[in-house]
Amino acid sequence: MSARRLRRRIVSGAMTALVAVLSFVAVLALVLILGYLVAKGASSLDWSFFVKNPVPAGQAGGGVANAIVGTVIIVGLAALIGLPIGIGTGLYLAEYGSGRLGWVVRFVADVLNGTPSIVVGIFAWTWLVKPMGHFSALAGSVALAVLMVPMLARTTEEMVRLVPHSLREAALALGYPRWRTSLRVIARTALAGSVALAVLMVPMLARTTEEMVRLVPHSLREAALALGYPRWRTSLRVIARTALAGIVTGCLVGIARVAGETAPLLFTALGNLNFSTSVLQPMQTLSLQIYVYATGPFDEWHRLAWAAALVLMGLVLLLSLAARWAIRQRHGAAR
């Protein structure tokens, strides 16, 4: 009897230790990856790395100025296209998404959310690169936007759903027309600009948004409706005010995710050894540069690849931490 009990205690202790070790291993993987990035990349980060362009293969020196600028332009353009569509879709899902269309949109956002980014890349190629006759940064941006939208939509939806109706009412008094005007302007600019990047962004956003909104208790919703607020006005209110932090978080996460994407850019933005700011021409990004340098034969390239990876990782981490900070502004007391 007591021997059996002892055995059960030992098993319990051993398994507890095992899951603790497994957690340690997972954290260790992160530490090893970030540690190597710093150890191998930091020494190459000097002034010329940031302000010079790549030199011909085999020569020493050179930098990634073109890739840094390219990353900012392509991701910025993608955000311009993807954010309005993603957020708008998320709002729709959160506030009006209970019907059949809502179900379809939500399902589609989830499907697109799981779509391999390389598939979106060849899709953008057939729709933009092939008709235009040449690779372009714009096509890359559109591809990234497509990746961004489903996640953004779902995040936004979740965020908006988190907002209690009482807060909706308060917000209503403050800013409906301004919000709508800005949304309209952004949406128009974005649509005129680039479609593919947006395609990536929207499903992501739509799904995120929905989840947020769904968390609002029904009682609060009913109370608001009982007080006579039109549905659309309340939903706008909500967004403009309380869900903002959550939506900002979703946007930052979405941008961080596409900033490191490489696959959708292989056949759209293509990469460029020279400095270029024209969105209708091929453009370099940090991710493409890392891919080329890491798989190339030169030690000098490997050194630059580590440095570029450190910069890219820093950028992504900054966005992720900003997202954390933004959500904490909203939930600070609760957690």
Binding site: S23, L37, Y96, G114, P116, F123
Partner: protein, 297 residues
């Protein structure tokens, strides 16, 4: 206006599927179903069969699951059941940070850190003990199914762990209390009362991880070796569908070649959609029955 915006997504999906199907049609008409199970991929002769890529995609993803599932479940169980309160948020945050690392950075790290590590530390003892099995035969050059599977495992751990954690958190405290009250040890309470309660949600989490692994492109392309061949040994190079598109799309000189790559893309798309839909369905069923896992997704 919001409704118009929301309609964009379904239209986008239709355009995506339609475009893939149209572009793949010449290859589909030419090779029919044999595209799925023949292994000749000869652009010069104009013959294409995708079996090695389909095999490699499934094999690398399953290998990744084999490594990632115990790890991710361990993390989720530790963080919800055993870890001291002050440790939970920071560790969860660090594990989720793994999801923020770009794929191409994983690839870079894999080439210069993981592969040398596998070659020096992991592979020699594996071969010494299990080298006689078909799974560990042949020479290890570095780029291999093993390297691709390990990097994929690290990449999907944060997804599986995060969703599993949400699922376990949603299991009512009464489940634990009941088990403990009947004299179970803490581990027995977790293993016999908590985990089975959230089982469907946990399976959903694993399938979501699988969906991620199937479509992952850059890191795998950089590590798996890119060889058109079906082999059982994890030490040998392999190929995946995503890697084939990444490597060959810009070199596809003939229309048929391009079309074959589009068909690969279509197959990849269909598989990932099916896997994701399955995961959603599982989590849905749980959500309807017991509410466990509904919040997680």
């Amino acid at each position: 206006m919001l409704t118009t915006l929301a309609l964009l997504l379904p239209l986008l999906l239709l355009a995506l599927v339609g475009e893939l199907a149209v572009s793949a049609w010449p290859a589909i008409r030419r090779f029919g179903l044999s595209f799925l199970w023949t292994s000749v991929w000869d652009p010069v002769a104009g013959i294409y069969g995708a079996a090695p890529m389909i095999f490699g995609t499934l094999a690398s993803s399953l290998l990744a699951l084999l490594l990632a599932v115990p790890l991710a479940l361990g993390v989720a169980i530790y963080l919800t059941e055993f870890a001291p309160k002050w440790l939970r948020q920071p560790v969860a945050f660090l594990v989720e940070l793994l999801a923020a690392i770009p794929s191409v950075v994983y690839g870079l790290w894999g080439i210069f850190v993981l592969i040398p590590f596998l070659r020096a530390v992991v592979v020699p003892p594996l071969r010494a003990t299990l080298g006689w099995t078909p799974f560990l035969s042949g020479v290890f050059y570095g780029n291999s199914l093993l390297a691709g599977g390990v990097i994929l495992a690290i990449m999907i751990v944060p997804y599986i762990a995060a969703v599993s954690r949400e699922v376990l958190l949603a299991v009512p405290v009464s489940q634990r209390e009941a088990a403990l009250g009947m004299g179970a040890t803490r581990w027995e309470a977790v293993w016999t009362a908590v985990v089975p309660y959230g089982r469907a949600g946990l399976i959903g989490a694993v399938i979501l991880g699988l969906g991620r692994a199937l479509g992952e492109t850059m890191a795998v392309t950089m590590l798996i070796g890119n060889r058109h061949d079906i082999g059982l040994s994890v030490l040998q190079p392999a190929y995946t569908m995503a890697a084939a598109i990444a490597n060959e799309f810009s070199e596809a000189t003939t229309d048929l070649y391009l079309s074959a790559l589009f068909e690969v893309g279509l197959i990849l798309f269909v598989i990932t959609v099916a896997v994701n839909a399955l995961a959603r369905l599982m989590i849905w069923r749980v959500a309807r029955g017991t509410a466990v896992g509904s919040r997680a997704l």
